[in-house]
Amino acid sequence: MTLRSACSRIARWAFLACLVLLQACATVANPDPRDPLESFNRGVFGFNDALDRAVVKPVATEYRDATPNWFRKGVSNFFGNLGDVWSAVNNGLQLRGQDFGDSVGRVMINTTLGVGGLVDVASDLNIERHSADFGLTLGRWGVGAGPYIVLPVLGPYTLREVVALPVDQQGNLVNQIADDPTRYGLTVLELVDLRAQYLRAGEVVEGAALDKYSFMRDSYLQRQRNRVYDGNPPDEDIDPSAVTK
């Protein structure tokens, strides 16, 4: 078989594969240009939702009911302080002086006066948090969002956030801990704490949505775009069929 015919075979198979993929997309009744992988995404979303109902939400509910408020507050503050370190780095990369300064100030104050981040003294001093991750940094550098992707377990993303994910994982200081049991333990605690914070909110969303998948997608994509534009996106933002930045 010549190289030429091998190439044409590959091209033919690639073409067929594209057709099949397009077919899969065409089965979605009401396609959204920002969500070409909708049928795949809906499958993963369903899996995540089932996992949440079966495991994550019950564990978070148990955690909320079994621990005192001050304890949970301390846990949230601790992880928030670690997050502020990564926010400082990203605000720096985005050349946002004020936000960088606030983030550094928050970490310094909360790590010392706030006893290793357990108390959020900086917020009481009106130093605002400016959350930033590497996905946001890429967005502010002009990288487009790309299609919407729901990842197993992790949930809603855009392609840009997926690309940034390995960097953000490195930026999460919990992942820098060498001792395995400590790292696993803290990761689980971080996730449970996060879910516990949104138990009531989750119930409200549950009651508000006609189709939870679309509700989450449309909120997430608007929110991401709004962050990139720093709360001031151009007007086509309010047209959901517009392609997101």
């Binding site: 009744a29 605002e128 948090r129 991750d133 508000a208 006609l210 449309d218 909120s219 929110r223 709004n226």
Partner: protein, 210 residues
């Protein structure tokens, strides 16, 4: 990222915080009106133990009484429904508004249950006196990231008739737009009556949960 997204979701439901009413003063500026309503509702909740502990009946009553008179609900429903609104019969339009209203009032009420120590800060209004539609931008403060909360308001025709809200935005997420694709999905699959039925089923399921 994940953390921020969950935060968004949580805060979507905080959208009601500033959306509050009372008697309208003549020729009140739109940002002054939003400020008055926000402070009023936040104070009402902080002062009432039943409201703070999430008494749904009282919260729904609060939303109905203070918020709804300041909302152009017909416009909100029409833009969420999209082009199909013009093809709807007056009866269908009435039913859509009724069911959507029940859904949103309950959502606001659930959101208000989350209010604790927040305060509201106004951002400068960029509008000229002859504007008929304005964007009022606010922030809710109280620990962590400030929560962006913006309103679109329209001037009601007539002297001193005041301003009415027709859309709102929590952390960059516009309420009407979040319902748009869900609504068009239902309409494409099952028509306008199908959408009305889905809304009323949702409301019935919510009512059962109490």
């Amino acid at each position: 990222m994940k953390r921020n997204f969950l935060r968004t979701l949580g805060l979507i439901v905080l959208m009601a915080v500033g959306l509050v009413g009372g008697a309208q003063a003549n020729d009140e500026a739109p940002d002054a009106m939003i400020k008055r309503l926000s402070v009023d509702v936040l104070d009402t909740i902080k002062a009432d133990k039943a409201l703070r502990s999430g008494d749904m009946v009282k919260l729904v009553a609060l939303v109905d009484e203070r918020i709804m008179p300041n909302v152009n609900f017909q416009r909100m429903t029409a833009s969420a429904v999209g082009p199909a609104w013009r093809q709807a019969t007056p009866e269908q339009q009435k039913r859509l508004q009724e069911e959507f209203k029940i859904l949103l009032v309950r959502t606001y009420a659930g959101a208000l249950a989350q209010v604790s120590t927040q305060t509201i800060a106004m951002k400068p209004l960029r509008a000229s006196p002859e504007d008929k539609e304005v964007l009022v931008r606010t922030e809710i403060k109280g620990g962590g990231d400030p929560i962006q909360l913006d309103y679109r308001l329209e001037k009601t025709p007539g002297q001193g008739a005041g301003w009415r809200i027709y859309n709102l935005n929590v952390l960059g997420v516009w309420l009407v737009e979040t319902y748009k694709s869900q609504f068009s999905q239902e309409i494409n699959a099952k028509g306008l009556d199908g959408l009305i039925l889905s809304l009323s089923d949702r409301n019935k399921a919510n009512a059962k949960k109490g």
